[in-house]
């Protein structure tokens, strides 16, 4: 461990993490977090336990009206908050050319039927995870590019260093990950 007193750094990182998460609107999605660092090694670990937010998948029929039309399945979005995620999902499955945007809320997916589209599911957890990861990259020391991730459905632990990653540091991260999972 470093021979210097790093209490300022730990307090400051705590503040930065809280501010960044609130800026990105993910504060309520993270139940608990730990930051561990040894600047002498050097390594930096962030471990986050994700909360029980809206992690269950949502169907297209829950946030839009789906009809058949001459061009294919027609979607009329009723809950705009889901529009970007829905469009991204449709682009992934049917390609950009396959999805026609008639207006802000109306989409026609060529060559599909309404029933196929109604059963389509969106995973909100994915969006949350990407936002939380964005927060992590904003906090992580810039030069620590060598990274190792331990991720499961509840806890996300990321360790980073400057040069070679050592097994004992990964073990420290692993122990922290298990502790966060069990807590």
């Amino acid at each position: 461990m470093s021979e210097h007193d790093e209490s300022f750094a730990m307090e400051n990182f705590d503040t930065i993490l809280r501010q960044v998460m609130s800026e990105l609107g993910v504060s309520r999605m993270v139940d608990d977090y730990r930051i561990k660092a040894d600047p002498d090694a050097p390594y930096f670990i962030i471990s986050l336990r994700l909360g029980n937010g809206p992690v269950s998948a949502i169907k297209v029929s829950d946030m839009a009206l789906v009809d058949d039309s001459s061009g294919g399945g027609k979607i009329t979005i009723t809950d705009e908050a889901w529009a970007p995620a829905l469009l991204t999902k449709l682009w992934q499955i049917y390609g950009r050319d396959g999805v026609e945007q008639l207006t802000r809320f109306e989409l026609v997916v060529r060559g599909t039927k309404a029933e196929d589209l109604s059963d389509l599911e969106l995973d909100p957890g994915e969006e949350i995870r990407s936002k939380v990861l964005d927060a992590v990259w904003r906090i992580f020391p810039e030069g620590f590019k060598v990274r190792h991730n331990i991720v499961d459905d509840k806890v996300m632990t990321i360790i980073g260093t400057e040069h070679d990653m050592e097994d004992e540091w990964i073990k420290v991260a692993d122990d922290l990950h298990k502790k966060m999972r069990g807590a």
């Binding site: 470093s2 790093e6 750094a9 930065i16 501010q19 050097p42 020391p141 030069g143 400057e162």
Partner: protein, 303 residues
């Protein structure tokens, strides 16, 4: 010795102020006019301050102390990534501007990391062109004490280091302000504003000692006197850059290309001598600028 002050007031009868400045042997360094409001940075001989104060009162303006006026300061962050920018680097630069300095924010190409943090010879040479440099460092004491100090150990200009952890002293720097660290928000809380004041005071201290050092072996002419002559050059008048001439403690930066204008600049006459004879004129590392370092009186007279 010259004193630099800022007049803040209206444009009504402002010419009377300009005439008085000229009469007392002073100079206008910069004018910024916004509709009917005007800010004038002026340099006057210290003993004439009362006359300027009286005129300011008559014109209904106010006179503000700008201890860093006539200086150009580099605020250096390890990188320009979001980890160091815009806060607190820009907040510090803004605070120095409020004290009258012209500031430049600079990020190092390979300043990130701990052992991997480096500064290139080119970057050092750029920083050396300024009157002082402020290095904005991070949170970890180990990282600052063991590694980041190397970034500024060879610099000859005064350096003020700003960092997070409480450190008693750091080598190779004239000033040290602790308790800032990394920020993701503007520094607008009371204690943060005090910290910014502390940084400005520390830079003022470093500039003051450099000024005292210069006074021991005074310059042949004050840079503001040279500025007036150079401002008459056609290229300077045509320049669209916000401050085409920037004063330094021992010279000035003229934002016109060296290669094209060096002869005309050297031929400018100052007190019956060619500027080329009383100053060293060189190309600036920042593109399209020329640096003028005025020689000391002793150097000119012995040469």
């Amino acid at each position: 010795m010259y004193e630099v002050l800022l007049f803040d007031g209206g444009v009504y009868k402002i010419n009377e102020l300009y005439e008085l400045i000229e009469d007392v042997g002073g100079f206008v360094i910069q004018k910024t006019q916004v509709q009917v409001q005007i800010s004038v940075t002026l340099a006057i001989p210290e003993e004439e301050r009362s006359a300027i104060e009286e005129k300011t009162k008559e014109l209904g303006g106010k006179l503000i102390e700008v201890p860093l006026a006539g200086t150009e300061i580099a605020v250096v962050a390890p990188t320009l990534g979001r980890h160091h920018m815009p806060h607190p680097t820009c907040d510090i630069a803004e605070q120095l501007r409020r004290s009258g300095a012209i500031t430049v924010v600079m990020g190092l190409a390979r300043g990130k990391g701990r052992r991997t943090a480096q500064i290139t010879a080119d970057e050092k040479a750029i920083i050396e062109e300024y009157d002082a440099a402020v290095f904005v460092l991070g949170n970890f004491k180990d990282c600052i004490v063991e590694h980041k100090v190397r970034l500024f150990e060879d610099l000859e200009v005064p350096v003020v280091a700003v960092c997070g952890p409480d450190i008693a002293s750091l080598p190779s720097c004239e000033g040290l302000v602790c308790g800032v660290g990394r920020k993701v928000e503007r520094m607008r809380r009371e204690e943060e504003i005090h910290k910014l004041d502390e940084v400005a005071e520390s830079v003022e201290g470093a500039i003051r000692s450099k000024r005292t050092e210069l006074d021991e072996d005074p310059l042949f002419v004050h840079p503001a006197e040279v500025k007036d002559r150079i401002a008459e050059l056609e290229a300077v008048q045509r320049s669209l850059r916000p401050a085409p001439i920037v004063l330094h403690l021992d010279g000035l930066r003229v934002k016109i290309p060296y290669a094209e204008w060096k002869d005309q600049i050297a031929a400018v006459e100052v007190y019956g001598r060619r500027l080329g004879d009383i100053a060293d004129i060189s190309d600036s590392r920042l593109g399209g600028s020329t640096l003028i370092k005025i020689k000391t009186r002793a150097e000119v007279e012995s040469g």
